[in-house]
Amino acid sequence: MALIFISLAAGILIGYFRPLSARGAKVTHTFTMLGLIILLASMGAQLGSNKKILGELGQIGVEAAVLAGCSVAGSVLLVYFARNYIYRDLEQKLSHWQGREDR
């Protein structure tokens, strides 16, 4: 797990203190995508070679739908109950910010 946080922290520090040029950002994006594709293909290979998981894909789909539905419901409910409190004083700041961005 340490490797995960070290890699992330290194990236955040680079991104914050040495903002990349357009070309640099493109190269970084390519490497990020390459890493992601390798990891996704590896996850796919492990799934494909595991007959037990392949047999349970239908059940995994149902579990995914339940977890996604519950996550979304939790997020929506909490924001719904707090919306008036969050909006108080915020509209003035937002219109001020929009005005600055428009200039």
């Binding site: 797990m1 490797l3 995960i4 946080f5 890699s7 992330l8 290194a10 990236g11 955040i12 520090l13 680079i14 991104g15 914050y16 903002p19 990349l20 950002a25 970084t28 490497f31 990020t32 390459l34 890493g35 992601l36 594709i37 990891l39 996704l40 293909a41 590896s42 996850m43 796919g44 290979a45 492990q46 799934l47 494909g48 070679s49 595991n50 998981i53 995994i60 579990e63 995914a64 339940v66 977890l67 996604a68 539905g69 519950c70 996550s71 979304v72 419901a73 939790g74 997020s75 929506v76 409910l77 909490l78 924001v79 719904y80 969050i86 915020l90 700041k93 937002l94 219109s95 910010w97």
Partner: protein, 198 residues
């Protein structure tokens, strides 16, 4: 992007099903560890360079942080409640909920550091969350107000669901959606590994 993600998984699955001998899987470990590091440095660079968003956050005041905090807490609580109903352990359901819709990162992280089965579930759950968000955003904006429409998208409100939020709500809510998505995206690579190891 969606085609690349689905294509990579399908290509890997076909390779694993027909070609790859079971004993060879162990050799993938070093290659995937390197790929994970490269990907996370790239994700970090992207997060670190979001200066404009952090400036917006400062200008709008810290109260705006309540939106991503409530989305995160609601998402985790909902996933744990759903996981309990399904008989899942707390660490798995909470880590899956902490994907906040970022299906590619949460799926591969959990598959790599915990188990490929839970990784696949995290992937499918967070794909479903994004699909649900696409359906719910216009409905929630019309029935319950603009701010509530930001909540189902989770981390995706800074990219994939942002155009829909912009269309269904207003410019002010779009600014909040960018801040919300950026903060939740920043939390995913930290929360998922911590929660899965609880």
């Amino acid at each position: 992007m969606t085609f690349i993600v689905v294509g990579a998984i399908l290509a890997g699955a076909l390779f694993g099903y027909w070609i790859l001998p079971a004993g060879m899987l162990g050799y993938l470990d070093q290659a995937t560890s390197l790929a994970l590091c490269i990907m996370l440095v790239g994700v970090g660079i992207d997060l670190g360079s979001q200066r404009q968003t952090w400036l917006r956050l400062r200008a709008l005041g810290w109260k705006i942080l309540l939106v991503p905090v409530l989305v995160a807490v609601g998402s985790l609580a909902g996933a744990v409640a759903g996981g309990t109903f399904l008989g899942m352990p707390f660490n798995e359901s909470s880590a899956i909920g902490a994907g906040f819709g970022w299906y590619s990162l949460s799926g591969v992280l959990i598959a790599k550091i915990y188990s490929v089965e839970t990784g696949a579930l995290a992937f499918l759950t967070n794909v479903s969350r994004e699909l649900l968000a696409f359906v719910l955003i216009p409905v929630l904006a019309a029935k319950f107000g603009n701010l509530v429409a930001v909540s189902p998208g989770g981390a995706t409100t800074m990219d994939t669901t942002l155009p829909l939020i912009a269309k269904a709500t207003d410019a002010d809510t779009t600014v909040i959606a960018v801040v919300n998505g950026t903060i939740l995206s920043s939390l995913v690579p930290f929360l998922v590994p911590v929660l899965i190891h609880l």
